[in-house]
Structures are given as structure tokens and as C-alpha cells.
């Protein structure tokens, strides 16, 4: 393909990709300011919740888990953008991955940081969150490892640690390059972070080996993390939660929404940083096909999950199924089906529509649809408990909405800051092999 970024001269690639780091435009400051205001609003709402109690949310008996848990599953799902896509592509040696991987790996780290906040925001006594950490207290008592929440915390802490290392390793050669010519404070930052990288053969080999190893490890960790998130629900005795399919179903949904987030992030980076030559139609086409595949897989799981419940016709499960598909929560369910299946199927299945614009629209649709999917899983089950006399409805309040909005602002802000400090596309990956240079 003539427009492949691999064919550009290396000198130009370096300039193109390092340029965004040294310029701060008015639009950038405005976007940061908006993100900061929305984020501060969310923090204020959380402050109110901490001061007054969980009563400021819309939670009530029996719906004890609301959109904080929906947000939690959503963000942990988004985090699967990086690790899985980048690790799979790295391990299979797909050459087109080069301009995509770092953007994806950064999404993983930030989405995990945000997602990991929600179990804490959701605690009745959030200031005691450290009682849940898998670490013994002063009397050498461990928390209860029979609780899926403990598995969850263990998995997420492992995943955050792993994905930070996984993002950091391929950054090192770029950091060393950046330390060469720069403003003093940046020079110091990059030199410290590059850990004395000189670019010797030994270092390259070690880095290559470490990245391969981390790719293998992170794949296993990513699958286990979302499985454990699914088990938070599946281990409970509640109708339509207690399902064996939930582990793989959630992992599929996570990768699905992760790819959508990656496409959206790439579209924005491409436009704002002027990287049209690097993130080409070719890349979007490949990712769009992956998104289509995941949409079909997600649809298959959704059918498998709901059809078996409907056919089994067990009263307690049917109460939840009815609430989902015919009663109070039906709009959420059918909009979810439309956004997660119909839209991507049409836009990405028909070749003429599978353009960058088509992929962008489908990605936004999938992101909204997957948020709704988590809502449809979490809330109707709790609203229809086994004793029908206790059933109820749940409507979130402005506090929950403000905190949710703030997390999107936080994601945007973290990502923007990252793109100003580090090249969002790995530069060294385009460096010609020493043999070719001669």
C-alpha cells in the first residue's frame, strides 16, 4: 500500500511524531479546562456522598448495586483495548499494529485507574477501602478470600501493575531519543525514565524478550480479570446472574467495547495531531473488521444467554427476563441490541460503508450500547429479587451522573496529558533495521 507509514523516511517520522510534544495550542488548553471542570464537578459530588452517606445516590433496597458498578464493569471492559489487541497483534507479528499499539496500551492503563476507583466510590465507608486489599492487617489476619470481591481486587491490582509495565517497556527507546534534545526539565524527566538506555544490541535483545514475555503474561491476566469481574455477579445466587456463561460473555463484551474505544481514540488523535499519514484507512479497516467479528460474537453470547432462560421458563428468572425485554427496562435492552448489533453489522458489514466515518459511528454506538448492556445485566436482576414482595425500581440521581461524567473527563484529561508528554505512536518501531541502514 503506497500510504503505509512504514515507507516514509525515518527522519520525517521522528519529526512528525515528536512535534505534538512541544506545542500547546489554545484548543488543547480549552479542552483541558472543560475536562477539569467536569472532573471537579464529579469530585464535589463524591465529596457530598462521603459527607452525607450513600443515600445521595438512587440506590435502595433491593437495588444495592447501581450505575457505579455499571461504570466499573464498563471501564474495566474498555481497558481490554490495549492489552488484548496490542498483545495479540504483537505476538502474531502483525506488521500493521505499529502505529496502534501505544495508543491502545495507554487506554488500558488509564481505563483501569478509573475503573478501579469505582469499587471504592461505591463503598458505604469508602475511607476504609484498604480493608479490602489482599494484604494482612496488623494482627496478621487476611481478608476473606472466599469473597469474589477479593479475587477482583487481586486481579485488578495485578492487571494495573502488569499493564503499566507493558506500556512502559516499549516507551524506553523513545524516551532515550527524547532525552537528547529537549528543554531542561523534560530532559531530566526523559533521562530518568529511560533508565540509562544506550541502544546497544544487548539492550535491544533484552527489551524484545521482556516485551514478548509481558505480552504473554498480560493476555492471561486480561482474560482472568474480566472473568473475575463477571464472577462478582455469577457467584451470587441471584436470578439471571448465576450463569456459567458470564465469564466468557464478559470477556467478549470487554474486548468488543475495548476495540470501539481504541477506534474512537485513534480517530481523535489522527484529527487533532494531524497524523493522517500514520493512522490510515488501512488501519481503521482492519480494526473495523475486528469490531464486526466481536459484535457477532457478542450477539451469539447474548442469544445463548437469553434464549436458554426464556425456554427454561423458570419463574424467578422469567421475572428478570420480563423486566428486561418487556417491562420497565425494555427500552434499555432493545436500544442495546440495536446499538451493539444492528449498527455495527450494517456499517461494518457492508464494504462501501466501512469507512473511517462508518467505523467512528459504529464505535460510538458500541460504546453506548455496551454501557447499556452492563446496566441491563446489573439492575433488572436486583430489582426483581426472589421474594416478589421486595421488588422495586431504580433511577440514578445527579450525584451518580456527575461522578460518571467526571470519569469520562478524567479519561480525556489523562489521555491528553499522556499525548503531550510521550509520543502516542511508538517512533522507534519505524526505525530501519541497522543492516538496512547501511
Amino acid at each position: 500500500m503506497p500510504s503505509a507509514p512504514e515507507l516514509l523516511p525515518y527522519q520525517r517520522i521522528r519529526e512528525d511524531l515528536f512535534r505534538p510534544l512541544s506545542r500547546v495550542s489554545g484548543r488543547y488548553l480549552l479542552a483541558t479546562l472543560i475536562a477539569f471542570i467536569v472532573g471537579a464537578g464529579g469530585l464535589a459530588a463524591w465529596g457530598l456522598q462521603l459527607r452525607r452517606g450513600m443515600g445521595v445516590t438512587g440506590l435502595q433496597r433491593p437495588v444495592f448495586w447501581g450505575i457505579y458498578i455499571v461504570d466499573f464493569v464498563f471501564w474495566i471492559g474498555i481497558s481490554h483495548a490495549g492489552t488484548l489487541i496490542s498483545a495479540i497483534l504483537r505476538l502474531t507479528g502483525a506488521a500493521w499494529r505499529k502505529p496502534v499499539t501505544r495508543a491502545a496500551e495507554a487506554i488500558t492503563v488509564f481505563a483501569l485507574m478509573i475503573g478501579g476507583m469505582f469499587p471504592i466510590i461505591h463503598l458505604g465507608r469508602a475511607w476504609l477501602f484498604y480493608w479490602l486489599l489482599p494484604y494482612p492487617n496488623s494482627r496478621l489476619l487476611w481478608p476473606n478470600f472466599r469473597s469474589p470481591l477479593l479475587w477482583d481486587l487481586t486481579a485488578i491490582v495485578t492487571y494495573v501493575t502488569g499493564s503499566i509495565i507493558y506500556l512502559y517497556l516499549p516507551l524506553i527507546p523513545d524516551l532515550a531519543q527524547l532525552a537528547e534534545h529537549n528543554t531542561p526539565w523534560r530532559k531530566r524527566l526523559y533521562r530518568t525514565l529511560s533508565l540509562g538506555w544506550t541502544g546497544s544490541d544487548r539492550e535491544w535483545h533484552a527489551l524484545e524478550r521482556a516485551m514478548k514475555l509481558m505480552a504473554c503474561i498480560i493476555l492471561a491476566v486480561a482474560v482472568s480479570v474480566h472473568t473475575v469481574v463477571a464472577w462478582d455477579f455469577a457467584m451470587a445466587l441471584a436470578p439471571m446472574w448465576h450463569s456459567t456463561i458470564f465469564g466468557p460473555y464478559f470477556v467478549t463484551g470487554a474486548i468488543f467495547s475495548g476495540i470501539a474505544a481504541l477506534v474512537l481514540a485513534m480517530v481523535i488523535i489522527r484529527k487533532v495531531l494531524g497524523l493522517e499519514a500514520y493512522l490510515t484507512r488501512h488501519h481503521f479497516d482492519r480494526l473495523a473488521k475486528l469490531l464486526l467479528l466481536m459484535s457477532l460474537l457478542w450477539f451469539y453470547f447474548t442469544i445463548a444467554e437469553n434464549l436458554t432462560v426464556w425456554y427454561g421458563n423458570e419463574p424467578k428468572e422469567m421475572a428478570v427476563f420480563g423486566a428486561r425485554t418487556r417491562a420497565h427496562y425494555a427500552p434499555y435492552f432493545w436500544i442495546m441490541m440495536f446499538l451493539n448489533f444492528v449498527v455495527p453489522f450494517v456499517l461494518l458489514g457492508i464494504r462501501r460503508l466501512r469507512t473511517i466515518t462508518g467505523a467512528t459511528v459504529a464505535s460510538v454506538s458500541v460504546l453506548v450500547g455496551m454501557w447499556l448492556e452492563r446496566f441491563v445485566i446489573v439492575v433488572p436482576t436486583l430489582a426483581n429479587p426472589r421474594l416478589p414482595a421486595a421488588s422495586s425500581f431504580y433511577t440514578p440521581t445527579w450525584v451518580e451522573a456527575a461522578i460518571t461524567a467526571a470519569t469520562f473527563a478524567a479519561m480525556a484529561m489523562l489521555y491528553m496529558i499522556f499525548a503531550k508528554l510521550f509520543p502516542i505512536i511508538a517512533v522507534w518501531e519505524f526505525k530501519p533495521h541497522p543492516q538496512e541502514e547501511e
Partner: protein, 227 residues
């Protein structure tokens, strides 16, 4: 295990008067909720009267069922708590330790009977109710889960009294507030380990059944069906 506390509730005798609910409020320092909070599903009643309607108005029949913590032998709320705030004690009681609770809500989600109640705000009592707190029962702060304890403070008191009088604990020595206040005498509390106790005999009754027994939770509250 010296004792294994359990309860029998005769649905044929229950009139749905809710005296048990009021008694429980007074005994266990339960917070009072406003009408708005009640409409929102934020009430705290460790024992509640579930109402099931049969037929159409005006030919309507209401069936009442007092529902409290079933103190399951195989309680689904217990393993899911990461901080051991809810656990089984030596007498088969399902105990809630407020100081350990951080409020993950997981126990409440996993309770098939929906009998766990959360402190959405710091509890408040209008005057003069604030002056009649039971000194034997802790007042729970905002952010923790709570539920029926089978009036564990009364069990302790009865044990102390019998020890002081150097006699074994007799059947009927322990009466939770709800049992004591039931005008129809629909509720009986006692030791399931003692085959001669009233509750043991009622548990063997042909009318005895347990709520959602098919889940394998092994509840210790026996409901006697309408005759």
C-alpha cells in the same frame, strides 16, 4: 454447639398487625424513616410484613408473611463478605459485626430473602424517641449493613440470668422482641438442639415449611402453612 436458635411462625395466626415491627424498632434502635424515604425503599425493618394479594378488588384476599433474617445454616451472605463482617457464630446465629463492615453491599445482593438493610444516612430519631434507645444495642453509623440478630442481647441476658441463678436455660427464657409482642402468639423462639422445646416440636409439624428451601440455604425460621 450448645444451642441452635430457631423460630417458628404460624401464618394461620398472623393477622398482619405489625406489632412485631414496632417492637423490633424499639428494641434494636432502628432508625425512623420519613414518608419520602419509605417511598424510595429506604426503610429499615429487621422484620417486615410482606403482603401478597389474591383476587381483584373488592373480592380481594391479603396474605401476610412476616419476613426476617432466616439465620441460614448455609447462609449465602457469609462467604461473599471480604471483611468477615458477617459470619456464623457458635450458636448458629448469622452475626453482623458493624465495625468490620465497609459497605460493599455484596451480602445484601446475595441474600435471597432481601432482609439486609443499609444505613443510607446517619440514623436520626425525632424527639422523644431519641431518649428511649436500648443501651444493650449499638447505634449503627452511616455506611454499614445491618439486619435481624434474633435479639442476641436478650439471648445474652437470659444466659447471664440463668447462670446467676445456677440453673440451666429453660425453653421460653429467651424471647426476641417480636415474639414477645405478638398478640396472636404466632411466633415461637427457642433452641432447635433441644428436641423437647416448643420450636423443635413445631418444626416437625406437618404444616412446617421453610422459605425458598429449594436454594439449600437451610433457614432456621419455620413457617407453619395456613391450615
Amino acid at each position: 454447639m450448645e444451642h441452635r436458635w430457631g423460630m417458628a411462625i404460624d401464618l394461620d395466626r398472623c393477622t398482619g398487625c405489625e406489632a412485631c415491627v414496632v417492637a423490633c424498632h424499639a428494641e434494636n434502635n432502628l432508625p425512623i424513616s420519613t414518608p419520602e424515604q419509605a417511598a424510595q425503599g429506604r426503610t429499615t425493618h429487621w422484620i417486615r410484613i410482606d403482603r401478597y394479594y389474591e383476587g381483584e378488588f373488592p373480592d380481594i384476599k391479603v396474605r401476610y408473611m412476616p419476613v426476617l433474617c432466616q439465620h441460614c445454616d448455609n447462609a449465602p451472605c457469609e462467604p461473599v463478605c471480604p471483611t468477615y463482617a458477617t459470619y456464623h457464630n457458635q450458636e448458629g446465629l448469622n452475626v453482623q459485626v458493624y465495625n468490620r463492615c465497609v459497605g460493599t453491599f455484596y451480602c445484601a445482593n446475595n441474600c435471597p430473602y432481601t432482609v439486609r438493610y443499609f444505613n443510607w444516612f446517619a440514623p436520626e430519631w425525632p424527639e422523644p424517641l431519641a431518649l428511649q434507645h436500648n443501651p444493650d444495642v449499638a447505634v449503627r453509623p452511616a455506611g454499614v449493613m445491618e439486619k435481624c440478630t434474633f435479639c442476641i442481647q436478650r439471648i445474652k441476658r437470659a444466659k447471664q440470668d440463668s447462670a446467676a441463678e445456677a440453673r440451666p436455660l429453660a425453653d421460653g427464657d429467651v424471647q426476641p422482641a417480636c415474639v414477645q409482642s405478638c398478640p396472636a402468639e404466632a411466633m415461637v423462639f427457642g433452641d432447635l438442639n433441644d428436641p423437647a422445646s416448643k420450636v423443635s416440636r413445631l418444626a416437625q409439624d406437618g404444616r412446617a415449611t421453610r422459605l425458598l428451601e429449594e436454594l439449600g440455604t437451610k433457614p432456621k425460621v419455620f413457617y407453619l402453612r395456613k391450615g
